[in-house]
Amino acid sequence: MIEKREALAKMFSAKGSKVNTNRGTEYYDSLMKTMTLRLNELEQTTAASKTSISSVLESEGLDRRDFMKWASAACAALMLPANFTPLIAQAAELMNRVPIIWIELQDCAGNSEAILRSDAPTIDELILETISLEFNETLMAASGHAAEEHLEEAMHTFKGKYLCVVEGSIPLAMDGLYGTIGAKAETFKDHLLRVAKDSAAVVAVGTCATFGGVPAASPNPTGAVGVQDIVRGKPIINIPACPANPANITGTILHFVLTGQIPELDHLNRPKFAFGYRIHDNCERRAHFDAGEFVEEWGDEGAKNNFCLYKMGCKGPMTFNNCSIVRYNSGTNWPIGVGHGCIGCSEPQFWDKYAQERPMADTHFKAPSGGVEKTVDEFGLGLLTAAGIGIGIHATASILAGKKEGDE
């Protein structure tokens, strides 16, 4: 009942993805004050982690100039005026003040991998190294009872202050027994609810944690759902994509450090600074779309000329994310750049409805007539055929039977 009511409320209050990038001097002045106050407060607290950004940068051979270049880029990414750059830099230096508990549920750890496994890490990724990661099942050395004790201690010490970062979906089928953790075999659901309860905010990282992702794809045997489906009464920030872009994770945490609040979100609880724009509108192949120049099959002449991948199933026109601007792997490239269409990985139900190598009209979806999968066009042509046969029968019958009536 409550869910129904919420769905209804959502239906009439759905926010658009509009991003207001100029809110006037007054707004920014007051924001600057809030942020300065917040950062000064943070500075007074003791660092939760010993790593500092300057030491990490030094060990990677990066100088202050690189750092300040990053700070101005991050400032632009968060859609703040240029005079916020020093604040961003200060916030990055204070990242080790915000404790984070990162829990790993039903997924492939791809989001952790995306952040950790780059051989030439960007400053975004390095900053994530300096955050005070109090608990992370994938990374920490402790195991079993020791790990659980560590979690308890972190939750107790930073009660109400830590960010709960969640990676992976939550299986609900069979009372959640598809995924358990720890020596007491706590289900993922209980684990998440327990950690989320005392957090300042919950950050769902990756599509599994946000919308259920691949584990929730049809027929969803484990009954997988996203964090926002079961956690109530906590601010939830969704950072979908498969994997989530480290730049967006940093941006969100940075925003939290700067303001103590969560960034402006769209109707799917995604930060607008990252998910406010459509891939299609910032795509380098967009001109080929408008020209009607499409790749017809892998490796054809069009593919060699970087034509539009729409006919190969690119879902850029219906996907909101900033990968066409920020890109992946230290900004090296992104799916469309290397010649594969977008699979819409930052949208809900992407595996069932987006991730096919054909346009929507040719994709095998569950037909409205029943369980058999059909393409939209096959279903439509079936409908037309049925209508045509019906009309044909009626016409023939009318010619045969109607004449008698007319003669009378």
Binding site: A7, K10, M11, A14, K15, G16, S17, K18, V19, N20, G276, Y277, R278, H280, D281, F289, D290, A291, G292, E293, F294, E296, G302, N305, K311, K315, P317, M318, T319, F320, G344, E347, P348, Q349, K353, Y354, P359, M360, A361, D362, F365, P368, V376, D377, F379, G380, L381, L383, L384, A387, I391, H394, A395, A397, S398, A401, G402, K404, E405, G406
Partner: protein, 231 residues
């Protein structure tokens, strides 16, 4: 037995009908291209000024606007037409239900039974067209929802109020169709097929009536008149 000529559609109503008909054909042809580009641009001529998808989308949007305006006119005629006001035939009164059933019986008994007055627009037709207008409104709402995805910046050439209005009036279609933008597209595409089926039946039924009722019904939308038998 003599025939009397009666007027059924004014010049403006007939004009509106054909504008809608032509718009629909264009919308289907360009819409199918947008859903799956079924012909190629000249791949061998990279420097040619080709804008194939953009032209298709432009045409699609233009006929959509013409459609929408004509729908507003039709909505007005529902209540203020100087012929039969269509809304009167839609209210489920016993007279209307009886007429609806009688016309349906006439159709399925292949014109052997005809127990209603065919000189005016009947309840069956009114309901049939009401279904069509509902489908058009659905196409309008889902179409505008798909369109506003391209205005993510919140700006448009006519001001920021336009995307704001579109979000306000069409965002609910995402929730209703299944929660993703893809569901809106699917629904828009499926509804097109439903509309084509509607057109098939509509054209067939008008021709069928003309042949079997022998009252020149097809002329309603061309000359504006039909004939009824005088008793």
């Amino acid at each position: 037995m003599s025939y009397k000529k009666i007027e059924r559609m004014t010049g403006f109503m007939r004009f509106n009908h054909w504008v809608v008909a032509i718009s629909m054909v264009i919308a289907i042809v360009t819409g199918l291209y947008i859903g799956h580009p079924y012909y190629q641009s000249f791949i061998a001529d990279p420097a040619v000024d080709k804008y194939v998808m953009a032209w298709n989308r432009l045409l699609h949007f233009i006929v959509a606007i013409i459609f929408d305006v004509s729908s507003i006119v039709v909505a007005y005629l529902y209540f203020f037409s100087r012929f039969e006001k269509a809304y009167k035939k839609l209210i489920p009164t016993w007279t209307n239900i009886k007429e609806f059933v009688d016309v349906l019986v006439n159709l399925i008994t292949l014109n052997r039974v005809k127990k209603f007055d065919s000189s005016h627009a009947d309840s069956f037709n009114a309901v049939f067209f009401f279904v069509f207008h509902m489908m058009l409104i659905w196409m309008l709402l889902t179409g505008l929802q798909l369109y506003v995805h391209g205005l993510a910046s919140g700006l448009s050439s006519i001001g920021s109020w336009w995307p704001a209005v579109l979000h306000l009036t069409t965002d609910w279609t995402v929730v209703v169709t299944g929660g993703t933008f893809m569901d809106v597209r699917l629904s828009h595409h499926y509804t097109m097929y439903a509309i084509i089926v509607w057109i098939m039946f509509h054209v067939y039924y008008q021709v069928w009536r003309t042949i079997f009722w022998k009252e020149g019904d097809v002329n309603i939308v061309i000359g504006g008149d039909k004939f009824i038998k005088e008793k």
